[in-house]
């Protein structure tokens, strides 16, 4: 990836949304609005961010560009590449790992022909790279599909859930 030469403007709607967030913080703390700003921008752009969009946010909030890249790459709900329609996160943290999360991941990878961090060719499934503990350890192994939790997973159960996705 190289520096983007094109500079784009944020849409009026997004700017309005960001302004509303900025208003919640002290004037010298505009940067506090960066997370919400990125979420709004991502929402308008088919669920992912581009360098040009991040630069536009940096310009709007008067932040160094790299400060925006840092936030965008840190939070797992922000995407910096085009992704498929449904987001699937399998928890691989300790409890889930001990209860076979790795097998679940492998099953999904094989069945849908993708690797962690990739989207399926049919544009249906995006398997998130890594998910830390989602606080459902008692139901380990677990996954989150479009913000919904599914627990005590088996390969069969996973298929059932994923096959039902649009």
């Amino acid at each position: 990836m190289s520096e983007s030469n094109e500079s784009i403007e944020l849409s009026a709607h997004v700017r309005e949304q960001i302004d509303a967030w900025v208003a919640k913080y002290p004037p010298e703390q505009k940067r506090s609005a960066v997370l919400s700003a990125l979420r709004e921008v991502q929402h308008e752009n088919d669920g992912y961010l581009t360098v040009a969009l991040m630069d536009a946010v940096a310009g709007y909030l008067e932040l160094p560009k790299i400060a925006v890249y840092e936030v965008a790459t840190f939070y797992s709900m922000l995407e910096t590449q085009p992704v498929a329609r449904n987001s699937v996160s399998v928890c691989t943290n300790i409890s889930c790992m001990l209860r076979g999360a790795d097998d679940i991941v492998e099953h999904i990878e094989k069945k849908h022909g993708l690797k962690l961090g990739e989207s399926s060719a049919d544009g249906r499934i995006y398997l998130k790279k890594e998910e830390e503990c989602l606080a459902a350890c008692c139901g380990a192994p677990m996954m989150m599909v479009n913000h919904k939790y599914y627990e005590n997973l088996t390969p069969e159960k996973v298929d059932e859930v994923l096959d039902a996705l649009e």
């Binding site: 190289s2 520096e3 983007s4 560009k65 790299i66 840190f74 790279k129």
Partner: protein, 792 residues
């Protein structure tokens, strides 16, 4: 014991500390070593590496010394079992993902991680898992990355934020996927970028041109003084065999702190340029011949003597560069004065010499570098310290972060790394008007001006920006007005000097100069001036200054360490004068086609690392150094060449055996000399600009400053070099009917050139900015003045 002092005990020894200090500052001050990676005394505390864990009595867990404030009665153990175990465990964690291949790492031998692993690491790793691998980033020609080695201490990130004032590096990703980089491929543009090499504790960020060319233990360290800007940064040359392999900063809080500008760090590459002259040469019947020194010096003698005998010594002129050493400069003028000529100067880039009679003993900062940190307000006139004297800018930046109002009157709103309180962006022809308006605003606000000044500012129109600027200066307890490089090159420099001086007087501010080169101050003191001898001594004269000696061509010229067509204010005039002369003697380090055109004798010169010498920095600080390597081929230190020439011409008092002996004639006086800068002469009227014309603005790009830096390949790949473009505000281009991507034909009385257009909305409208030294623009002549433009 004062109120904010506490007593703590470290390893059984009681010590005093300031309240609120971090433990590590106290142990450092007392020479007790606590291991660390992320802590750096010039950066904020991040406390993310945990290497500095120590035991503190009554604390349940070991505490990080870099982030634990001292408290009265605190008992600390830095080498207890608990502390050592904690440090060892941290080291084991750090090494999980760090490659264990020091023999192929460029940092090997000078790596903080390697050193600490020796002390705290285990012999055998308990991990057999694969290590993470991080793709390297290309962040430009100066800094090499090897990001797999990064331990995420974030020193480089904090450096960008806090010191360079330019957040270029960051930590993207999270957890094991976290990476330090620029995210998008991007060249670092900070003029201080090389410092990340020194602060990176591992081999993740290293010196790119130096890479894989030597090991630390093969090199010897030789102290020296930076040869470019007027700060006089202290630094160490790392020498292997006969080669300067690299340069690192040497700590001097009063001068460069711990930092070094990129130009000073990387210009050492220019010492090994293939263009270095190896032997003396003479031109006979249009052909160049290498000769030995004996013959060359005899030729210099015979040819110059012939001119003197035939036309008189006044037909001889000498121009020396302000980056030559004090000893060279002193002998240069002593030699020429001995020959009977007072046509001597070093002010290559000055054009207005009207007030030479009243000029200060030497134009200097008017305060110390450290003082700059404590100003409440500063007005910069025609100055871009960020790119001209980066470590002066660093001091001003600290003042600004502390609330000072830094303001400027410049021909462009230059990209800065901190916020300026006010910037008046005006065409060069309007700079004097603007200063007059500030003075008028001061009078409005109650300041009492003398008659001469009142007469001058009577009719200027004052706007709110002038008033704000005046107010900020007036209110400040500690203010300074600084004349920069562009002011000193301005065709109305004497006027700018006088108005800046008057503003300083009206506001109780100091007046200072931001010298351009390493010896801009030293050259004055050495007497390389037509109107004054060394240390302000009176001499016969005045002779011709750096402008007049070319406008009134002489029969013979001696040029010392410069490439006149690039280094002088009007390269075109200079070349014309040199070409018509009967004899041009060039003391030069570098060969070039144009040198061979106009010169008749070429004497190969040693450069800064190859000769003993001294520079006097912008605060008047005399700093001497020794040669660290031999000059190439038969090149010789300038003071030696000049000494022998003095003998050749049978001049009295020319028997020096060392640079020290030369220096001794000046040194004592220089160290005690701190003259006032309050010397100027108000002109009778303000300059008026011809309306509607296109004005030329010239700026010296950082890495084009002098022959040495122009021969340093890595620096020449940065953005801070002369680009040969015609830079204009988009409105100016539009008015001239020029679209982006066009070529502009620019002309004046003397010549015409065609340059690609570059749009730049930071420039004052009505101006075209051309970088100094670019060969494509030499035909346009002087650095400032009106031009005619057309498209193609």
């Amino acid at each position: 014991m004062s109120e904010d002092s506490v007593t703590i005990e470290v390893n059984g020894t009681p010590m005093q500390a300031r309240k609120g200090q971090m433990l590590i500052e106290v142990t450092d001050a007392n020479d007790i070593y606590v291991p660390r990676f992320c802590y750096h005394k010039k950066l904020t505390v991040a406390a993310n590496c945990r290497m500095c864990l120590v035991e503190v009595e009554k604390a349940p867990k070991p505490l990080p010394a870099c982030a634990t404030p001292v408290a009265d009665g605190m008992k600390v153990f830095t080498r207890s079992q608990l502390a050592l175990d904690a440090q060892k465990s941290v080291m084991e964690f750090l090494l999980i993902n760090h490659p264990l291949d020091c023999p192929i790492c460029d940092q090997g031998g000078e790596c903080e991680l390697q050193d600490l692993a020796m002390g705290y690491g285990r012999d055998v790793s308990r991990y057999s898992e694969g290590k993470r691998v991080v793709k390297d980033k290309n962040i430009g020609p100066l800094v090499q990355t090897e990001m797999t080695r990064c331990i995420h201490c974030t020193r480089c990130v904090r450096f960008g934020d806090e010191i360079a004032g330019l957040r270029e590096l960051g930590a993207t990703g999270r957890g094991e996927h976290m990476e330090i980089g620029t995210y998008v491929e991007k060249t670092m543009t900070s003029e201080l970028s090389g410092n990340v090499i020194d602060i990176c504790p591992v081999g993740a960020l290293t010196n790119k041109p130096f890479r894989y060319s030597a090991r630390t233990w093969e090199m010897v360290q030789r102290p020296t003084i930076a040869p470019h800007d007027s700060v006089g940064s202290n630094m160490d040359l790392h020498v292997k065999g006969h080669t300067v392999k690299r340069v690192v900063p040497a700590e001097n809080e009063a001068v460069n702190e711990v930092w070094l500008a990129d130009r000073d760090r990387y210009s050492c590459e220019g010492l090994q340029s293939p263009d270095r002259l190896q032997a003396p040469m003479i031109k006979q019947h249009g052909e160049w011949h290498e000769v030995d020194w004996e013959v060359a010096l005899e030729q210099v003698h015979d040819r110059l003597q012939a001119v003197i005998d035939r036309d008189g010594a006044d037909e001889l002129a000498g121009l020396a560069a302000p980056w030559a050493t004090l000893e060279e400069l002193y002998l240069f003028q002593k030699w020429l004065r001995g020959l009977g000529s007072a046509n001597i100067d070093h002010r290559l880039r000055q054009h207005d010499f009207r007030d030479d009679d009243v000029a200060p003993a030497f134009p200097w900062l008017g305060e110390s570098l450290v003082d700059l940190e404590h100003v409440d307000a500063a007005l910069l006139v025609g100055a871009y310290p960020r790119k001209e004297q980066p470590l002066i800018n660093h001091r001003l930046r600290k003042a600004a972060l502390g609330g000072a109002a830094i303001m400027a009157v410049n021909p462009a709103a230059y990209a800065q790394n901190f916020e300026f309180a006010e910037t008046c962006v005006v065409a060069p022809s309007q700079m004097a008007q603007t200063l007059a308006a500030v003075a008028a605003a001061l009078v409005e606000q109650g300041a009492v001006a003398g008659d001469a000044l009142r007469g001058l500012i009577n009719n200027v129109s004052v706007d709110d920006q002038h008033r704000r600027l005046a107010e900020a200066l007036r209110r400040a307890d500690n203010a300074t007005v600084l004349l920069g490089v562009q002011a000193q090159a301005h065709p109305e420099f004497a006027t700018l000097r006088a108005l800046a001086g008057e503003i300083a007087t009206l506001t109780g501010a100091r007046l200072g100069y931001l010298g351009e080169s390493a010896n801009s101050s030293g050259a004055w003191l050495a007497g390389v001036l037509p109107q004054r001898g060394p240390l302000m001594g009176t001499t016969p004269g005045p002779g011709l200054d750096a402008r007049a000696m070319f406008e009134q061509p002489r029969r013979a010229y001696c040029l010392f360490n410069l490439e006149p067509e690039r280094d002088c204010w009007n390269g075109r005039e200079v070349i014309r004068a040199l070409t018509q002369a009967d004899c041009v003697v060039a003391f030069s380090a570098y060969d070039s086609a144009s040198l061979r055109e106009y010169a008749d004798v070429i004497l190969p010169l040693a450069l800064y690392a190859e000769t003993a010498g001294s520079y006097v920095n912008v605060e008047g600080r005399l700093q001497s150094f020794n040669g660290a390597v031999a000059p190439p081929g038969q090149a010789r230190p300038g003071w030696k060449i000049l000494r022998v020439l003095g003998n050749r011409f049978d001049l009295a008092d020319f028997d020096y055996d060392s640079a020290e002996q030369v220096r001794a004639e000046l040194a004592d006086a220089i160290t005690s000399l701190r003259p006032g800068n309050h010397h100027w002469q108000l002109p009778g009227s303000l300059p008026q600009a011809a309306a509607g014309s296109l004005e030329r603005v010239t700026r010296m790009p950082t890495n084009s400053l002098d022959p040495l830096v122009r021969h340093a390949p890595a620096l020449q790949q940065t953005v801070d070099v002369a680009d040969g473009h015609a830079h204009m505000h988009p409105d100016t281009a539009a008015r001239l009917g020029l679209a982006a991507g066009a070529h502009v034909r620019l002309q004046n009385d003397g010549g015409s050139v065609e340059l690609p257009l570059a749009l730049d909305d930071s420039l004052a409208p009505g101006c075209v900015l051309i970088h100094a030294t670019h060969p494509d623009a030499i035909e346009l002549g002087g650095w400032f003045g009106n031009l005619e433009a057309g498209g193609r």
